[in-house]
Symmetry: D2
């Protein structure tokens, strides 16, 4: 057994407490003030040199421990505008003001609270086990992953210049899979993503006189339905693409036909050619469906954010996988499937020109996954288990989940850090 | 010339000032506190017995002037959640909290500010011309017409018991037509309206994993498009019906598929059988489009509000029309078309069992109506003139408009009030 | 009782036999060879001067009977490409080749067989009752009413020059209403109609490779749904318009995406402005929905046929109505509603500059109409009674129906023809 | 160089002539009478024992040549109901009666004419080169591949009992790729396919009275659009599925709303679970969209045909690939991508329990493929090259194409047949 994980079990109750506190106090992208404060205090107490406000709300801890490689460990901190269902006593009742000025509920519906907790735990454990390793650990608590902006904000804020150069970047994400199981994949792992805001212009008027209006809600509905044809008709069946409309908003009153409607789109692809075709089809459909209604003005399409492809370095991924298999047993380690989700974790290693590895860990009761850990997605599909971003995405068995996530960070880090003689 | 209107011209500048103040300070339904205050002060000063808070924010003024008939004159006070375009210096910059807790812009996009101003002007003129008539005038400033609730609220608050019985109810509405012109119609004038809130239930999740969700935005879009078939396929071409979706709201974030979507519908009909068929078709379509997606739960359909048919008493309507023609010249008085808009004005007379007449007056520059006053709607259809509820519905030529609207109330009232010998 | 109808009852069995023969042998527009032959033989036997081949397959009979007015009586002869359901022993099993070369079933689904029978019966009765009237009767058996081409074809073939000038044109149509009842209306009675053929161009290919095609079936489906918004959103609720897609055809094989799709549209309006707006919206939607798919070529829109408005002369309509009421009792005669169906009957009188009247007669068991004869359409709406063009439109109680239809022609004609002294 | 291909070049002109004759005389599935006759005569002349009428119109030739393995070589013979564009002088002008009784154009739009030609050529070459090999060749000319019925029909007709047992089955298909290039893949190669006929039941009536009908064309259009959501929303982005509507038919006349509409669907999947989910979604959507319209009867869904997955034996595929590379050079041999098309070729080997290999050969001018032979599909996507089933799918450079296809059959066969000492 990896000596870095020795004694980790005794830390788990305290980590669970931290996790529940974070879960109850989620914060939107670039609003992670409270989370950053909690994190900074904990890792400073553990002996890190701490810098806050990196890329607006990011926190960086440097734990120096003699000569040897430098390993970057990264956790993302932000939550989502989702209303949590009532399932656990520490559920979120938080609301916040989103960038559009709307009051929205907030929930850790993507489980970044477990990422933060595990990285705090790993830092504390590394500090407690200084005798067992040598080198430097860069603990990166990143803001605003959900909008694909946090990693770039930290890099734009001088990250590479202000902190020690690193040899590898490691990160992880909770997924809807059984607690204790880990999923690694060499090569392309997660999709490129493009988010767009579409504003449709009609002509407002009284709900009883549609003939004097151009109804933007009908245009928006026609766009939503016609966008379905992109994946169904324009992308080769063996290529991968997703076009989701995540938000639609128009009108305040039932008897007033509004003048505009707004859609928010999210597009996922694994290939540059497919991405171009899909983006072109979105533009074509949006313009034509407005023209079909005789809209007085062509819709506006503006970018909200974008994510690059996430690619794991094959050699580094194999090293992580082997370390996991040795530490946790091969039955708990699986080849991850390519995922249409997106991540900006890769930006750090890309900017530095070093390898990086990103993996998933399970966070739910194994009984939810009757088809086994490798087919976890079947359980989500069948509605047996919640998926990321669902209002039900509240990990169960948080003790074992957090313990394994922390141990995974330590085990992967140990594959690079020099052992003490 | 009707002696009641003598000297009205000198009052017009003051009425315009009142109008601009009201226009700049619009208030949502049942929030007409400031408007009620302004009105109460003005008509009290004119000599009315004033009661406020009738049906929450309504105001009733009683102007007694000896024996004779009692005439009810009614103006509605509320505005709409519409963002006014920048066209006049006294435009609204007001926002308010709507019943759903959302912050919305507010605008007098239906012109109730002109109704209030004209009725204040008529009361002041009647008070100034006490020598010219005899009887009683009930000036009713009603809240919450836009949601079909204000007239009922006043009646539920004891209106018939608390105020003098009346012989006729008279009311008017500004329309997109040339200033100075008046429109009267015997019989069925405006539609029955039913507003419904439809909540669609899907299953939320990550925007990159649609297969684990039931996308409520796709269901909502399919409902919007399929609702178009009701008027196009299920209502006889010679019957009249309108089905408008005035609002659609779902989701906060582009990469999260939300769990629910909400639609607000408004339905207009002139016939009970047609109304039943349309409402049945709405229910059928909403349920089936959710079933098409395999929704985990049938949508909920809840009433928001409803309006009865507005029917003018034929004899009383003829009396008003004749009075208008005599006072203003036949070229300025037109047979109104049946309108798919709705009104709760009729509730007062219906409850009292007396006749009522409702008419329209024009509020815009005649140059906007090249096809003549009788085809005013063609100008709206062609986009030359704004229609009610449009963010551009700001009357022009407010002096002549307000003068004629005030004179119309006085002229119609004079057709009932006993002239002084 | 009108002396022209004396003895008509004894003729009814023979007319029923004629009717059943015609019903069993329906013919498409401009293919009415057999029908024309049967008709020509019968009316020649009755003493008419008969001309066949007028406007391709039309038949004109002239029955001269001394001085006096000339009355044109018109029946249309063609049937429809509808497959008759099995309901009566004399049902049609006929197929024919339509103008596109397709083999189609044929059925008298619009009841023109009853029109032909009634006019043959009226001619035979007029011939038998020569003592009772004086003047001339022009019996016009018109082809191709269903495609709006037969009346024009007869006029283009010199109708006005070749046959005696007439003082009035009278015609009738069976409707879904109780046998024995008649429906007349002064003024605008039936709609203008425009039929269009829309050809959508995509790019064909293998059903498994949609990304290499432009799927014309998806375009056609999007057009069909979006066309619903014209009546629902672009026509004023109080105006009348119908946009129906009567045929859609694309593809032969399930795994081949075809290169084209074809739609046949039918549009009904009562007003020139509404007609222009609807036709413009059809063109706009068809072009835009093809553009939404990136179609390689804009769709083609070609006219199939068109019908003018049908307007009854008010004075002549009143004369017919009064004659009916006197002959059949006022309880059997009703004010017809304006109908969105179309007719080319009006072309004869329009071309001659004389008045015309067109009326409806009921053709079904009164028990099917529980809401009474005036609301016959409610029974169709409720599915209790078949509507014109339905595969179930087979008149019941053919004896009474044919008797009344024949008597109606005679009674209306008698209102013009000079009685013998 | 493989001795079996010696002298093949001189045969090419004759094979081109055969090809053009077949191309000009395409026949629908199970109607391949003429093709079977031509084939039987040619291979009998070459020395085969020939059996015709196997599985209705199939032809089997047995060429015995001493001891050694038996190799099954298969070509499919049927064409498609596609109207060929005018591109080559030997284009098809043929029409035929399809199983529904409709007259349809026929075209070798899938290139089975090249398959037949190459197999005839291979048989003739094998007969001419008897000295170079030893064993038995089973030449199978299969009918009705396009409807997934021919292979099963031959097996049901006693194929395994009536002909020699075989050691391997080999087959090939032309694809839109440069002439001369070959594409092989071990494992899953082509999709399972399910074709369905959907009959929608509405209520027919007059085009001017939609309120008395249930419009099946609107239902069908709604189904077509909603089916797009299956691949776009219900199938995981990394899974493969295709849902195509290949045919839609309803109505004969523009002003008659028909009573029914018919759709033909084709579904492709590579996984049993995905297949079940897609079929379930089709059933759900079809039923719900009819319910949305208040259809009087639920749609009927009936199978048209189905294809199993096509899986290449990995060892046998490697053997074919190696033989190709040696014979034609590695630059001309590529790893085929998994294809969503379908094939019933696999049925022969599956029934016999022996390995099989199926490959693709290119059939078009290399200039059409600027991105290189491995990305041939890009050229189809870009519209530079036609895809299978397109009305433009007429191979160019037929000489080199047929030569390489024939040589490929011989080369693959030689990898099993015992060489003569």
């Amino acid at each position: 057994m990896n000596t870095l994980t020795v004694g980790l079990q005794e830390r788990t109750a305290a980590l669970e407490e931290l996790y529940r506190d974070l879960h109850e106090h989620p914060e939107l992208s670039f609003q992670e003030e409270r989370t950053a404060g909690v994190v900074a205090a904990r890792i400073a107490a553990a002996g890190c040199e701490v810098t806050t406000g990196v890329g607006r709300t990011g926190v960086v801890g440097v734990l120096r421990n003699g000569t040897g490689p430098t390993v970057l460990l990264r956790a993302d901190m932000d939550a989502l505008p989702v209303r949590e269902i009532e399932k656990v006593p520490y559920r979120s009742r938080v609301t916040a003001t989103d960038p559009d000025g709307a009051t929205v509920p907030v929930m850790h519906a993507c489980g970044h609270d477990t990422h933060v907790t595990a990285l705090v735990g790993a830092v504390e454990q590394l500090a407690a086990q200084r005798d067992a390793w040598s080198g430097t650990v860069l603990a990166v608590f990143q803001p605003a992953e959900e909008i694909g902006a946090g990693a770039r904000a930290m890099l734009d804020d001088g990250f590479l210049e202000r902190f020690p150069p690193f040899d590898v970047a490691l990160g992880q994400h909770i997924s809807s899979a059984p607690s204790g199981h880990l999923y690694v994949r060499p090569g392309v792992f997660m999709a490129a993503a493009d988010s767009l805001r579409v504003t449709v212009f009609g002509r407002g008027g009284h709900g009883s006189s549609p003939q004097n209006t151009v109804d933007p809600i009908v245009i928006a509905a026609a766009i939503v339905l016609r966008l379905q044809t992109i994946v169904a008709r324009e992308v080769a069946p063996t290529d991968v693409a997703v076009v989701s409309v995540g938000a639609i908003h128009a009108g305040n009153k039932e008897n007033v036909i509004p003048a505009t409607a707004e859609l928010k789109l999210n597009i996922r692809t694994f290939d540059a050619g497919v991405r171009e075709r899909v983006l072109g089809a979105v533009r074509r459909i949006v313009a034509a469906e407005a023209a079909a209604a005789g809209a007085p003005r062509e819709p506006e399409i503006a970018p909200i954010n974008d994510f690059p492809l996430l690619v794991n370095d094959p050699g580094a991924a194999d090293r992580v996988r082997a370390a996991f298999a040795e530490e946790f047993g091969a039955a708990q380690v699986h080849e991850a499937a390519r995922k249409p989700g997106s991540e900006d974790f890769g930006c750090f290693a890309d900017a530095a020109g070093v390898p990086s590895v990103f993996w998933n860990f399970g966070g739910f009761d194994p009984a939810l996954y009757p088809d086994g850990p490798a087919q976890a997605y079947l359980a989500v599909a069948a509605g047996h288990a919640p998926g990321n971003h669902s209002p039900e995405f509240v990990p169960t068995g948080t003790g074992p989940t957090l313990h394994r996530a922390t141990a995974a960070l330590l085990t992967a880090a140990a594959a690079w850090l020099a052992p003490r003689a």
